[in-house]
Symmetry: C2
Subunit: 548 residues, 2 copies
């Protein structure tokens, strides 16, 4: 039996090694069009700054090792240019020859390719790069070494764009980042992503949102508002799309957005051809609809699973959730499940809570703030998604939330989670528990909250904005027009509040103001709490802030 | 309505503040026999070394703040000495008076008290302390300040014992730790806990297991083997037991090990009296049997829940799992669910896997090793428990596993968990996924493993021990009598292996040897894999190691 695998990175190499462990007798051929298999594609940006110091570190497994350990027939610089599915052969082009190779089973793991938009000048210059593999990163590295590069421009504020911006900055370049949308990091919602923009700006990156590149010139990039940005080096990280050419040419059925269509057994429309990784569409764990999720973790799992299936072990693709994280200088930004933009597009009913806390108990040294957002259904308690950012421990909380969503836990279960606590590691009431409590307060009608985006409307309709922080904090910065009664004095100053207006309580994070909401509600006032407090509203509407 | 709460720390104070948020009108009285409420009991050990630099940091909320913010009537140094349940009153003794206070509802949150065994001399000296509250820690701190203290002895190797040993060491004392059992850190199994002992020893702590203190003298402690250990200061951290005196005297029904018996609504045998926290027994989430779990996280949850119940919100105690973690100098040791000792006592059928990996991808700088153990049922896939240790990211993995157990996920689900991955934070195949894969390999009979404790027997019965690491590693240290064939050469050296013996494959962690197991199994050999490899076996049986 000969199994031929097209693509030698995450999905393809996971399939190959698992196949060998299951089957000593099979002939396993891995065909990789590039010069390397099993390379660290997620690590590429970090080599530019030499945070990953050695180029060899990017090559996780060398073909020689894979050959001897797994008896894999690995052929690099070997591009499959055609599939003859009737004959069950592929046509391979390597540096010297073009030849046919028969297969009993074929696994396609071609990945995704960078989207290169048709912008004036984009193909004219040799200082414009994308970042998909080691040759790409070598080319960038060599270009910087051999040319006078001072200014870099990154087009696209997704994960790779942000990582490249940081890496180029750390290398000493003056970096700009242009993003067409009104926010960077699309998996996050805007009020979360703005904190990433802030971190980039704080570190010295010139971040430009809601603008597109309209022309590339030798030393500049022209934006669609006519501005020219200096750029001796351009990184294109606009996004990726399924690498479907082979599949399409072979007449395999395609799915959404040009993906290779597969069933739950990773079988394409041809029963001898399987596909895994970034090139396929998967069912979203929450919506059960087809989605593209180009991430390393699902790709690796799928590669192993397709090996199991081909070897006769029962296994199926149970869908993906899309958990992701990115480091932005000193902070992490993470998300899992559906965000607000997706929920709006799906027309789902949902509620939102934002909670700010510290990564471990505040009394233990070096406690750092973090903020999480939870999206859930008020009636069923179903958790749709979560996002978070902060300096430490963000990965832990998003992983617990991703696990909770996969396990179909509801908001009622989050307070029940018993997470490890000792002062250096967390809190007796962890962020996860707090998110559950906050969501339950909404579900059980103990709290009515409004979101940052709703406050201006409420104020225009005549709501009374009550800031319950202490006077010093209020004087240092507050939402214009807010009235300050510190929580401590609230009970004895109730008479200062208008009984005929909606009162919106606010504080730094939404926590003290929730306590205030409870006091006022029980006095018969109509109250809403500004969810997330100044930490969320203030970054989104800095123009509405004032000082005493 | 007057609600009286006995005990002003985790459970009691959570109940008090939640009660106020739910009910502005109730009179809420908190009675605390000590001088402080809402103090950081988990932080106490870290104040001795001044890792928590300020004593004020140990007081999380001051009574004045709690009074004004929550209108709580907090009475410190006020010990409840009697409950008259028929009259619904408590008798309180404070510094000046003894007086009665009537209640409509009474919440008992007295916590647990240190076990002080009846050892000769234990009550004779003023240099013997336990660590339960701020006065305790003040006393230790003052004693060190005012006396010539050079040698400290900690009796008991639980969490507090280990934390105190580290803290006293960091303060500059020469520290010994004596533990009666054959291992420290009882929530972990021995082969995991031994790595904590190692870390302590490595840092300079004199760790003595399987020995008890038999007499305390002025400058020494005598052990039961006759040895005398120098000790100008003794910390007793032998364990805790429910503080049940009040409940017992009042004739409330008691449960296991002297705990206060409550139903799922935290109601004691008297319908007007509730109890929460370390003093009550809870249902174990896995066994559904009564257990004592003295941890801050469940206590805080219970406090909030009893407030809800008293306020008419439907809530119930869904049981506890017992997730815990402790820092031991540079490493973390964590566990959740049931350990092997408990499973053996329960007569459960279980399998074990040990997996060693790095906390983030190995190609990213500063990747640190960590080892996890998973206990599960081979037939049902039910996860019984997990333990882990390492330098970074241990808390994250134990929290995901605790969440998985609470959600009743099985080992089949662990590979499906999509955890956040970027090079600084994890791996595309995270430890959690690897544990799932390893367990599935056992469940699906792809691998037969033996545990460290079974190897010697197998060898005695004539098994052939095959070390598949490279020759250099083998020469540096290996299990005596092992034969070395590096994995790379295994396929071409199959003829060297005995076809009539059981072959036990081994390597550093159990991973390469699993690959070897698969090769040999498919050649018709009878093979078992040494689970956890040398990393586990070597620490447990150092006497069986040799070098070339």
């Amino acid at each position: 039996m000969r199994i031929v695998i097209v693509g030698g990175v995450a999905g393809g190499m996971s399939a190959a090694t698992r196949l060998r462990r299951l089957n000593e007798m099979a002939e396993i051929v891995v065909l990789e069009k590039g010069p390397y298999v099993s390379f660290a594609n997620c690590g590429l940006p970090y080599y530019i700054s030499r945070e990953i110091p050695n180029r060899e570190d990017l090559i996780v497994q060398r073909p020689e090792v894979l050959n001897t350990r797994y008896q894999l027939d690995i052929r690099v610089k070997s591009e499959v240019i055609k599939i003859n599915k009737e004959d069950k052969t592929v046509v391979i082009q390597d540096e010297n020859n073009t030849y046919d190779l028969a297969y009993d089973a074929l696994i396609l793991s071609p990945g995704a390719k960078a989207i290169i938009p048709n912008i004036k000048g984009i193909h004219e210059f040799n200082h414009i790069f994308s970042v998909r593999n080691i040759p790409d990163i070598d080319a960038i590295d060599n270009y910087i070494k051999n040319n006078e590069v001072k200014n870099a421009l990154v087009v696209g504020g997704g994960f790779i764009g942000v990582e490249m911006a940081e890496s180029l900055h750390n290398k000493g370049l003056k970096v700009s980042l242009v993003e067409m949308a009104d926010q960077i990091l699309p998996p996050l919602d805007k009020e979360m992503a703005v904190h990433a923009q802030d971190e980039l700006i704080h570190q010295g990156i010139n971040v430009i949102t809601s603008k597109a590149a309209s022309e590339f010139k030798e030393k500049t990039v022209v934006l669609d508002d006519g501005r020219e940005i200096n750029a001796d080096l351009v990184i294109l990280s606009i996004g990726v799309q399924p690498e479907n050419k082979l599949a399409k040419d072979a007449g395999l059925e395609l799915g959404i957005k040009g993906s290779i269509k597969v069933d739950a057994n990773y079988q394409t429309s041809d029963p001898n051809i399987y596909a895994v990784g970034d090139a396929i569409a998967v069912k979203h764990s929450i919506t059960n609809e087809d989605v593209l999720i180009a991430l390393a973790s699902p790709a690796n799992r799928q590669g192993r699973q397709v090996a199991d299936i081909i070897s006769g072990i029962e296994r199926s693709n149970k869908g993906s959730l899309g958990t992701s994280i990115v480091r932005v200088f000193n902070q992490a930004f993470a998300s899992t499940g559906l965000n607000q933009k997706q929920l709006d597009a799906l027309n789902y009913d949902y509620e939102t809570v934002h909670v700010t806390s510290t990564h471990h108990v505040s009394y233990f040294p070096n406690a750092m703030p973090m903020t999480f957002k939870l999206l859930f259904n008020k009636d069923t308690g179903v958790i749709y998604g979560a996002q978070g950012f902060g300096y430490e421990g963000v990965d832990k909380r998003i992983d617990v939330l991703a696990t909770s969503i996969k396990a179909k836990l509801t908001i009622d279960d989050l307070p029940e989670l018993e997470l490890s606590y000792a002062p250096p590691y967390g809190a007796a009431k962890d962020m996860i528990n707090l998110l559950g409590y906050a969501a339950l307060n909404i579900k059980e009608n103990l709290s009515d909250s409004i979101q940052w985006s709703e406050l201006d409307d409420e104020l225009e309709k005549g709501a009374f904005l009550l800031d319950v922080r202490d006077g010093v904090s209020h004087n240092q910065g507050h939402i214009k027009g807010s009235h300050n009664i510190p929580l401590h004095f609230l009970r004895c100053r109730l008479h200062e509040l208008p009984y005929d207006q909606t009162i919106i309580t606010s504080c730094a994070s939404g926590q003290l103001s929730y306590a205030a909401e409870r006091i006022l509600k029980q006095s018969g006032l109509k109250v809403k709490n500004l969810d997330g407090g100044l930490r969320i509203y203030g970054k989104m509407k800095p123009e509405n802030l004032g000082k005493k």
